[in-house]
Every structure is written in structure tokens, then in C-alpha cells.
Amino acid sequence: MESMTGTWRWGVGLAVLAGLAVLAAFWMIFFYVPTEASMGVVQRIFYVHVPAAWMAFMAFGIVALCSLGYLWLRDERLDAISVSAAELGVVFTTIVLVTGPLWGKLAWGAWWVWEPRLTLTLLLWFIYIGYFVLRGATDNPERGKRFAAVLGVVGAVDIPLIHVSVNWFRSQHPRAVILRPEGPTAGPEIVITLLVSLLAFTLTFFALLLFRYGLEKLRHHADAVRFAAESPRQAAPVSGGVA
């Protein structure tokens, strides 16, 4: 329980920093950055849409790495981080899938276009919904964790595909404006505002990840208490815990 308090304290600290960064980002998005010439005010969705997409990629990257570690070491902490990051990945991908059509309707004249980047992002969302379905699909929780970990590793292949899809295929989605070998093509105000927004989203992401990880530790603790209550002569659950 000691480590749970530490996780909680770090989460609260990061949440406070995230709140400050969110306020700064809001000020920059609505008062500092100039209106983009070709798309107008709707381009401001960019400052939520793009950082949310980067957070989703980072979340599923963490899922892939920790799932790989879990398959190798069978460390329950890695599984706890995986499931926490996967849940956040679904939240941030949902933000991407909700904000994108609101921008696309005015920029392209359509809420949704079945073009490579959008389709692959929707596929990513379904893969990680499948991750949770798989975890609960078997009677044996350990087997469910293993199956989900395999999907977590395999599903991450979609992330680089989403990134390169705008260059490899004929795509209606705008190409990268920041992560380009020859440097960003957007103006400095746009780049700075995006970076502040990205900082706000990153701090929010890690604060939520710590809270979700703390919840997972508490769940393991509850399982251990329940196990001890049901079989008083046995000291600890067989699978161990994450605390």
C-alpha cells in the first residue's frame, strides 16, 4: 500500500502540472496563434486532434513494449501498465476519431472518407477494443492476459502504417507538417502552440496513466484480500501482485 500512495502522489503532482499546461495551451490556441489562411478557424481543431493522435500512438507503443515484457518475464506490473495504457489509448483514439470528422466536414465536405489514414486509425481503435474483449474472453485470467499481450504487440504494427500511409498511398489526409526530415512547414506560432498543447496532453496522459496504474494495483490488492478472506490458511494469491 506504501507504493500505492507514492503512485497517487506522483499522479496528483502531474495532474496539477497538466492543469497549468492545459490553461497555457488554451490561451495560445484561442488568443496567441493566428488564424490559418486556407482553412480558417476550424484549423484550431489541429491543436487537439494532433496531440491526441500522438498520445494514442504513445499509449499503444507502451502497450506493445510492456506486453512484450509481460510475455517474456510474466511480470504482473508490466501487464498492469499495459492494460492502463491500452485504456488511455482507446480514450485518445476516440478523441482523434471524434475531432477529425468535425474538421473534415468543413475541410473536405464529408464527415468521413474511407482513405488509408482514417481507415487504419479506425482499425487501431477496433484492435484495442479487441484487446479488452480478449482479456475477458477466457475463463482463465492468465490466458486472457497472454492473448491480449500478443494482440498488444501485433496491433502496434498499425501505428507506423498510420504514420506512413499519407506518403505511401493516395491520401486525402494532410501530410505531416512537423515531423518532416526537412523541418516543419508550419509557421513558428503554429509549431510553438502545437508543442505547448502536446506538453499539456503528455502531462495529462501520464497523470491519468499513474491514476489508472494505481487503480490496477488497488484491484490486485483487493483480489489478494479476497483470496486471504476466502482461504485464511493460505498467505498470498498464486499469481502474485503488482504492489
Binding site: E36, I45, V91, R175, L215
Partner: protein
Amino acid sequence: MRTLLLLLALWSAVPQVIPAQTAPPAVEQIAPSSPLPVRPAPPRTLRAHWHVFVAFALAWALLFGYVLSLGRRFARLERDIQGMHGAP
């Protein structure tokens, strides 16, 4: 009633406000988007502001909803643990 009249007056003032926004003060050009034929710039209407508002509102509502769900799950687990400790 006075609030409603005030809102109606503000709403009727909107068409006069919008044309002033058609020429943005500062101009930033984002990346050339795609090899597909370039569509004309979207009309600068109040609709664009609504899309921005809804996008931001939904994004933060999702995050707050997630925080609330975390809080509810925490509370339920702590109740369960206290119940198990209190159980004979």
C-alpha cells in the same frame, strides 16, 4: 425573458460580425495537404466556430468522463476492501 431578448439581439448581430472575419489579420500557411485536387477554402461561417467548440467540448468531456469513471472505480474498490476487512 430579458435574457432571451438579449440572446436574440446577439444572434441577429452575428451576420454583421462574420464578414469581418473573412480577412484574417495574420496569415499562416500550413503544409500543402495532398496531391488530390485542392478544394476551395471552406466558407468562414459561424458553423466553423461551432465545429471548433464541439471538438474541444467533446475532447475534454471524454477526458473528464474518464477521470470520473476512474474515481468511481477507485471508490467501489475501496468500499469492497473495507467490506472484506470488516467481514467476520
